[in-house]
Amino acid sequence: MEEEDLYQDRIQEYYEEPYHRGRCPGCTHAHQDTNPLCGDVIRLELQIDGQGRLKEIYFNGDGCCISQAAASMLVEKFDGRSVEEVKKFTATEMLELFGVRLTANRQKCCLLPWRVLQAALYSPVSQAPDVQGSDGPGRSCR
């Protein structure tokens, strides 16, 4: 039944017309990871300002509808929010944000961007622009 909803319009719109998919201007933090089971890749790039806010947040990646739509929702939710809010955001809340019940296997797809965002908070990029990940996220992932 949950599966009937999996490819509903709302999810597909996030997948086909994603929010902030691309490179982050003035990126200060970035992280990329894969789901080893399927090879899905998500990269998150953030610009965290002096007040601990996510001034900019962008994602890129390659993977199934669920992982990419989940990343898109996550980026939309936290655009302009604080680092503290991201840290408090739990895996369960991520699944709730996605809004469609997922089987255990597909939960991993949904939680990949959440995991990457949590790690990105602790992954400052070098001050020199475009040193890390300069070869285009998504393409260079693997």
Binding site: D40, G63, I66
Partner: protein
């Protein structure tokens, strides 16, 4: 591994009633279309019954007890070994070692033969189309020994670069490990020729037969391989049992891989003497019932006939190429269908393989999606995941048509905003 001359055309409907799972309805009322045979096949009643009979009437540990049941189970277990021996035309039953699967068999060779024979600077030649189970054990051996792992490249259409083989075979090549049929591309490799050329260069050859043994007649003598590894569960048998075939002198010289019961002649407090083959390489209680089930699977496959099985798979593959090409937006990996076994991997434009598989499941169609334990191969073709339909002799032309129709609907669902 030679295809024999024309056989009578196989009718899958004659065999489907033997496979209880194939008549299952999914999601209420959708008939199962099982196209994931390269991952694991289904089992006929005859195999299931052999397992039940063993547990109900013949089960005890093998090669140990002096009681009636122990004799029964030992006889059945050794009968299974004899059936497998004949199935691959091995000269002697000691050359058929029961392992826990293809992975177990390859690791046994890497750990035992590899550690005893491969030294710093030696080379192990693999190909870019190997399954992880025929890559990682050799990478681990390279770490232990200081040997180098090299990869024979593949062409854009998924065939081995045979023209480059002699360059890759050097005086340092100790072993060539190659799959007989790619689990992703479906390519049937010219293993006999690889073996001949490797032997001329002084290298040993291990053939990964996980995909080929269930589909093609296998003759280890004609092929002249040094080792052959394959699994029971892809050829109608239970999971948990596989086979390592080896040339007798190589197996005899191999130190026992695992130590324990069964594999010894004598144990003293200050050491042990290993037992004879095959026990030397079957430490501990072996996969008794899975091996007996595999024996029943071999009987079944012999009755159907391997040449007919292969021809049927080729017919389905050809049909699948036609049907999938007609869907539009489908990219097929691997060579022309005439060079393939029953495996067709593909991508659908702008739709991830996982989504394809999940949506096909709504139509009762089981395919595999992902990298199929062959990440280097997917990287070679610039895709991170593919969907794979793989066939066995119980699959029908009508099932392939259902796959095509379902893919059309998947496309419609995703591209409705276009």
């Amino acid at each position: 591994m030679s295809a024999t001359a024309a056989t009578t055309i196989l009718d899958p409907e004659a065999y489907r009633p033997d496979f209880p799972i194939l008549s299952m309805l999914l999601h209420g009322d959708v008939p199962l279309v099982y196209l994931d045979n390269a991952a694991t096949s289904q089992r006929p009643r005859q195999v299931i019954q052999a397992i039940v009979d063993t547990y109900e009437r013949h089960y005890a540990n093998v090669h140990r007890g002096i009681h009636w049941l122990a004799d029964q189970s030992t006889d059945l277990y050794e009968d299974a070994r004899e059936k497998v021996r004949a199935f691959i035309n091995a000269p002697a039953r000691e050359q058929v070692i029961f392992s826990n699967g293809t992975t177990g068999s390859i690791n046994m060779v890497a750990r035992s033969w590899g550690d005893a024979n491969v030294r710093r600077g030696d080379e192990i030649l693999l190909t870019e189309m190997e399954h992880h189970s025929n890559i990682v054990p050799w990478q681990q051996l390279a770490v232990r020994s200081g040997a180098v792992v090299r990869f024979l490249p593949i062409t854009d259409d998924g065939q081995l670069e045979m023209g480059a083989l002699d360059q890759f075979l050097t005086e340092r090549t100790k072993l060539v490990a190659v799959t007989a049929i790619s689990n992703v591309l479906g390519t049937v490799n010219p293993v006999a020729e690889i073996i001949r050329r490797a032997h001329q260069a002084g290298a040993r050859v291990l053939v990964d037969g996980a995909q080929s043994v269930p589909h093609l007649p296998t003759d280890v003598l004609a092929m002249d391989c040094d080792f052959l590894a394959f699994s029971g569960h892809k050829m109608l048998g239970p999971s948990g049992v596989g086979v390592l075939y080896g040339k007798l002198d190589l197996l005899e010289a191999m130190p026992p891989f695992l130590g324990g019961g069964s594999m010894i002649r004598r144990v003293r407090l200050d050491g042990f003497e290993p037992g004879d083959l095959p026990a030397k390489l079957e430490a501990g209680t072996p996969p008794i019932v899975p091996a007996i089930g595999l024996g029943a699977a071999v009987d079944y496959l012999n009755a159907v006939g391997l040449p007919a099985i292969h021809e049927h798979a080729c017919r389905l593959t050809e049909h699948a190429h036609r049907v999938l090409n007609a869907v539009g937006g489908v990219r097929l990996l691997g060579p022309d269908p005439s060079r393939k076994g029953g495996i067709v991997s593909f991508t659908l434009e702008r739709i991830h393989a996982h989504d394809v598989a999940q949506l096909l499941d709504r139509h009762g169609i089981a395919v595999r999606a992902g990298h199929h334990c062959a990440m280097p191969l997917h990287k070679r073709y610039g895709v991170n995941a593919t969907a794979r339909a793989s066939f066995y002799f119980y699959n029908t032309i009508a099932e392939i048509d259902k796959l095509g129709e379902a893919l059309r609907q998947v496309k419609g669902l995703f591209h409705r905003h276009d």
